[in-house]
C-alpha cells in the first residue's frame, strides 16, 4: 500500500480496534488498560490542568537514571534494573550512560576523597531539574568505613541528596521503594526538605589558612579550584 492513499485504519471506523480490545478484555474489566493517562483524559480528548502540574506528573512518570556504579551498592542497583525487580515497571528503569541524558543520579557507594570532585562534576553535568538518591549507608555517613582516613562522611558533603535509602547494601526492593517515593514527590511538585550544606568547593584563597594550605599555596594556580575536606568538623 502506498502511503498517499488513506488507510482504513486511520480514516475509517475505529470499531475494529475497540472490538479487538474489548474482546481481549472480556468479562470483568482489566484495569491495566485504564492507564493513568486515560484516567486523566477521561472520556474527553481535552485536559484541563495547570501546565506545571502536568510537567511534574510527566517528570515523575518518566525518570532516566544515571548509570553510575561506585561500589557494592551498584551491584544491587544493577539487579534493580534487571530481571526480577525491573524498575522499568515504575517508569524509572532506563539507565543512561551520560549524565547529560539523566534526571536522577543514584549514588551507590562509598565516596572517597579522590572521587568526590569527579562525582561533583558528573552531578554538575546533569541537566536541571535533577534529583539524587543516596543508596546505602556510605552515602549517609560513610557507613562501615566512616573511620577511614580517606572516606568522605556522606554524599551530602558534595552534592544535595533528595532521598536516602539506608542499608548495607539496601535490597533492590528498598531501592525501588526509594525511587517510587522520589517519583511521588516529584509528581506532587514537592521540594526536597533535606537541608543541604553548601558545596565545599571553594576558591583556594577562601580557605582557612593552616599549614597544609600554606604548603600547597605555591603549587596551586589561582584559577585552580580546590576541594577541601575537614574531617574534624564533619558531622
Amino acid at each position: 500500500m502506498s502511503s498517499d492513499e488513506p488507510r482504513t485504519a486511520i480514516s475509517g471506523s475505529t470499531a475494529p480496534v475497540t472490538d479487538t480490545r474489548d474482546a481481549r478484555r472480556g468479562e470483568g474489566v482489566d484495569d491495566r488498560f485504564n492507564s493513568k493517562l486515560r484516567e486523566a483524559f477521561g472520556s474527553s480528548p481535552f485536559i484541563l490542568t495547570k501546565f506545571d502540574k502536568f510537567m511534574n506528573w510527566a517528570r515523575g512518570s518518566s525518570m532516566f537514571l544515571l548509570q553510575f556504579g561506585i561500589a557494592c551498592c551498584s551491584i544491587e542497583m544493577m539487579h534493580t534494573f534487571a530481571v526480577k525487580h525491573d524498575s522499568d515497571r515504575f517508569g524509572a528503569g532506563v539507565p543512561r550512560a551520560s549524565p547529560r541524558q539523566a534526571d536522577v543520579m543514584i549514588v551507590p557507594g562509598t565516596i572517597v576523597s579522590k572521587f568526590t570532585p569527579r562525582m561533583k562534576r558528573v552531578y554538575d553535568q546533569m541537566p536541571e531539574p535533577k534529583f539524587v538518591i543516596g543508596m546505602g549507608s556510605c552515602t549517609i555517613s560513610g557507613g562501615p568505613f566512616q573511620e577511614g582516613y580517606n572516606v568522605v562522611k556522606g554524599a551530602e558533603e558534595a552534592i544535595p541528596v533528595d532521598i536516602h535509602v539506608p542499608g548495607c547494601p539496601p535490597r533492590p526492593e528498598a531501592l525501588l521503594y526509594g525511587i517510587a517515593k522520589l517519583q511521588e514527590r516529584v509528581a506532587n511538585g514537592e521540594s526536597s526538605p533535606v537541608v543541604v550544606k553548601p558545596y565545599e568547593l571553594q576558591q583556594f584563597s577562601e580557605m582557612e589558612q593552616d599549614e597544609v594550605v600554606d604548603q600547597l599555596a605555591d603549587e596551586i594556580d589561582e584559577d585552580d579550584l580546590a576541594m577541601r575536606y575537614n574531617w574534624a568538623d564533619s558531622p
Binding site: 530481571v83 579522590k114 558528573v122 562501615p144 585552580d224 580546590a226 575536606y229
Partner: protein, 564 residues
C-alpha cells in the same frame, strides 16, 4: 581435583615447619652473605637482607631458585624500623614459599626497588610508598597510587594525624606523551590525543580511570589511575578485633557476590594464625557456599563483558542476572543476606543449613539443574556469536611469561595456560576430597578468559553437587558447625603469616602480623585484581580502543578489591 595424599589447609602451617631448616640452609648457600638473619613466618621461612641488596637477592631467587611469583609486597612500621616484605612463591608449587624481609632505618626509609626483577612489584611498591612512606630507589615511577597527589602524609604510619584537613584539587590530567610527539613541525601540535576514560564510565566496571594516549584509533599508552574507591580497608581491619569485627569487611572487598570467598581468605589466615580447628561439616558448607559465590561472580563477569562487547542492556546481561538471582536466593537461604553475607566465623560458620533441610537441598538442586541449559544459552549467545568472536579472539593477548611477571592469577592466568589454582595446589576446605578439574585455556586472549570463566561455572556446579550429596548424608549428631574458639583471640606477639585462597578473581591473600593484642598489628590484603589490572597496559598497548575495552572487561576487575 582429588589428591587425597596432600595435606589439608589447616595443618599445612604445622607440617611445613619440618622441611624449613633444609630450605633455609639451601637459601643460605644460594645467597651467601646477603642473608643477614632468618626469621620464621608461619607460612614460610623468611630471610632478612640489606636494603641495597634487594635486586641481587630477588633476581637470584627468581632465576636460580625458581620463585617466579611475587605474590605481594607488604610494608609496615615498627617502633624502631620500617620493613618491606616480598612474599615469593612458585607458580608450579605455591606451597613452596619464601619471604624476603627488607628492614630500613626509621629516619630514612629507603630501600632498593624490586620492580626491575618482578614487574608486579612496581605497583605494590607504589602502594607501600603511598600508605607507609617507604622510598624505593631505582623504582621506574614512584608516585602515589591510591591517594590523590596532593595528599599530605602517609596514613598507615603511626604518627599520622587523621584529623588534619586534606586538599584534593580538580586539576585536569595532562597528556604524558605530549612532549615526544612526532611527525609535526609546529610547536604545541601533536599527533597523539589524550583521552580520559573514567572514572565515571560504563565500561570501566566502577570507578577506574584510564589515562589513555591515542594515535588515531590505536592505544599508544594506557595508565590505569586507581584509588577512586580506596576505602581504607586495611586500616579498618587493623582497628577490629580478630574474633568478630573483621569478618564483615572481606565481604566488601570483592563485592560482586564473592563475599564467602573473601571471608574464607580471612578465616583461613586467622585460623592458621591462632591455630583454630574447623569441623569437617563446616568445611563442606564453606566449600558449597564459596562455589555458589564463584558462580554468581562469574555470571556477572560474563554479563558485563557481554555488555561491553555487545552494547546496551542486552539479553546476555539480563540472562546472566537471572542466573545470579537464582544463586543469590540460594545464598540468601543459607546466610540470610543477598550480598554481604558475614556468614563465616573463625572456626566454622555462623549457623547450620536452613531448616527444613530438604527444601534447601531442593532449591539448590533446582538451581544446579537449570545451569546446563543456561550455559548452553550463553554459549549460543556469546561464544558461538561471530561478532563476539571477531572482537575477542586474538585481542588483548598476554603470554604466560608476561602474565607471571605481572603476578596474574585466577582466570586471567589460567586463560594464558598457567595451571595455577590454589584450591588444588594449596588445598584448603574440602576441595581435596572432591572430584573436579582446574580449567585452563591456551589462547591467552579475551576469548580464552571468557571461556575459562564459563567452564569454571560448570566445575563449581560439580563441586556444589558433591557437597549437597555429602550434606544430605551427614549424620545428624555430627553436624558441628563451629569449633570451640576463645572469646578473645590474642595471637603471640610478632607472629607473621601470609595465607591465600582462590577467590573469584584469583589469589586473594592476607598478611597478618600479630602484636600481642586482640587486633592485628598489620593487616595487608593481596588483591588479585590489583595485580591483574596492572597487566592491562601489556594487553592493550598497540591495540585499538575497542580492544582496550574488551581487555578490561575480560580482566573482570572489581574496584573495591583493586583499591581496597
Amino acid at each position: 581435583m582429588s589428591t587425597g595424599e596432600e595435606q589439608s589447609g589447616d595443618d599445612a602451617g604445622e607440617q611445613a615447619i619440618e622441611p624449613t631448616e633444609a630450605k633455609v640452609a639451601e637459601l643460605q648457600s644460594l645467597l651467601g652473605d646477603h642473608v643477614l638473619d632468618t626469621e620464621e613466618h608461619l607460612n614460610a621461612p623468611a630471610i632478612v637482607i640489606r636494603p641495597d641488596a634487594v635486586q641481587a637477592v630477588l633476581s637470584t631467587l627468581k632465576e636460580e631458585a625458581g620463585y617466579d611469583h611475587c605474590s605481594c609486597v607488604t610494608a609496615q612500621q615498627y617502633p624502631d624500623r620500617y620493613e618491606s616484605i616480598y612474599h615469593l612463591k612458585k607458580y608450579a608449587d605455591p606451597t613452596d614459599e619464601v619471604s624476603v624481609v627488607v628492614p630500613t632505618a626509621r629516619d630514612d626509609p629507603t630501600s632498593e626497588s624490586g620492580a626491575p626483577v618482578y614487574e608486579t612489584a612496581s605497583w605494590h611498591e607504589r602502594e607501600a610508598y603511598d600508605l607507609v612512606g617507604i622510598d624505593y630507589d631505582d623504582h621506574p615511577d614512584l608516585r602515589r597510587i591510591l591517594l590523590p597527589d596532593t595528599w599530605q602524609g602517609h596514613p598507615l604510619r603511626e604518627d599520622y594525624d587523621q584529623d588534619r584537613p586534606q586538599i584534593v584539587t580538580l586539576r585536569e590530567n595532562a597528556n604524558p606523551l605530549l612532549e615526544d610527539h612526532r611527525g609535526s613541525e609546529e610547536e604545541g601540535e601533536s599527533d597523539t590525543m589524550f583521552l580520559n576514560i573514567g572514572p565515571h564510565h560504563p565500561a570501566t566496571h566502577g570507578v577506574l580511570h584510564l589515562e589513555t594516549v591515542l594515535d588515531g584509533e590505536q592505544v599508544l599508552d594506557v595508565d590505569p589511575d586507581i584509588g577512586y574507591l580506596h576505602r581504607c580497608e586495611e586500616q579498618m581491619c587493623q582497628q577490629g578485633t580478630y574474633r568478630h569485627q573483621i569478618m564483615p569487611y572481606p565481604d566488601r572487598w570483592d563485592y560482586i557476590s564473592a563475599g564467602l570467598l573473601n571471608e574464607w581468605a580471612y578465616a583461613r589466615t586467622a585460623e592458621d594464625l591462632a591455630d583454630i580447628e574447623v569441623p569437617e561439616y563446616a568445611q563442606v558448607i564453606r566449600t558449597m557456599g564459596a562455589e555458589l559465590c564463584r558462580i554468581a561472580s562469574h555470571m556477572l563477569a560474563m554479563g558485563t563483558f557481554a555488555l561491553d562487547i555487545n552494547g546496551d542492556f542486552t539479553a546476555t546481561f539480563m540472562w546472566a542476572i537471572r542466573e545470579r538471582e537464582r544463586a543469590q536466593s540460594v545464598l540468601e537461604e543459607l546466610t540470610g543476606q543477598r550480598l554481604m553475607f558475614n556468614y563465616f566465623r573463625l572456626g566454622g560458620v555462623a549457623w547450620d543449613l536452613p531448616s527444613p533441610r530438604e527444601d534447601f537441598f531442593e532449591l539448590t538442586r533446582d538451581f544446579l539443574d537449570g545451569l546446563p541449559e543456561a550455559t548452553r544459552e550463553f554459549h549460543d549467545l556469546l561464544t558461538n556469536n561471530e561478532i563476539m568472536q571477531l572482537r575477542t579472539i586474538d585481542t588483548g593477548v598476554i603470554d604466560p611469561e608476561t602474565a607471571k611477571d605481572f603476578g596474574c592469577t585466577g582466570p586471567v592466568a589460567r586463560a594464558s595456560g598457567i595451571d595455577y589454582d590454589l584450591r588444588r595446589d594449596d588445598p584448603y576446605g574440602y576441595y581435596d576430597e572432591l572430584e573436579w578439574d582446574v580449567v585452563t585455556e591456551d589462547g591467552c586472549d579475551n576469548y580464552s578468559r571468557l571461556l575459562v570463566r564459563m567452564r569454571e561455572v560448570e566445575q563449581s556446579a560439580k563441586i556444589i553437587d558433591q557437597c549437597i550429596d555429602l550434606l544430605e548424608d551427614w549424620p545428624e549428631d555430627e553436624r558441628e558447625i563451629q569449633s570451640n574458639v576463645p572469646r578473645t583471640l590474642k595471637p603471640e606477639r610478632d607472629t607473621e603469616i601470609y595465607r591465600a585462597v582462590e577467590g573469584a578473581k584469583g589469589e586473594l591473600g592476607i598478611y597478618i602480623r600479630a602484636d600481642g593484642t586482640d587486633k592485628p598489628g598489620r593487616f595487608k590484603i593481596r588483591s588479585p585484581c590489583f595485580s591483574n589490572l596492572q597487566s592491562l597496559p601489556a594487553m592493550a598497548e598497540g591495540e585499538y580502543i575497542p580492544d582496550l575495552v574488551a581487555a578490561l572487561g575480560s580482566l573482570d576487575i572489581v574496584l573495591g578489591e583493586v583499591d581496597r
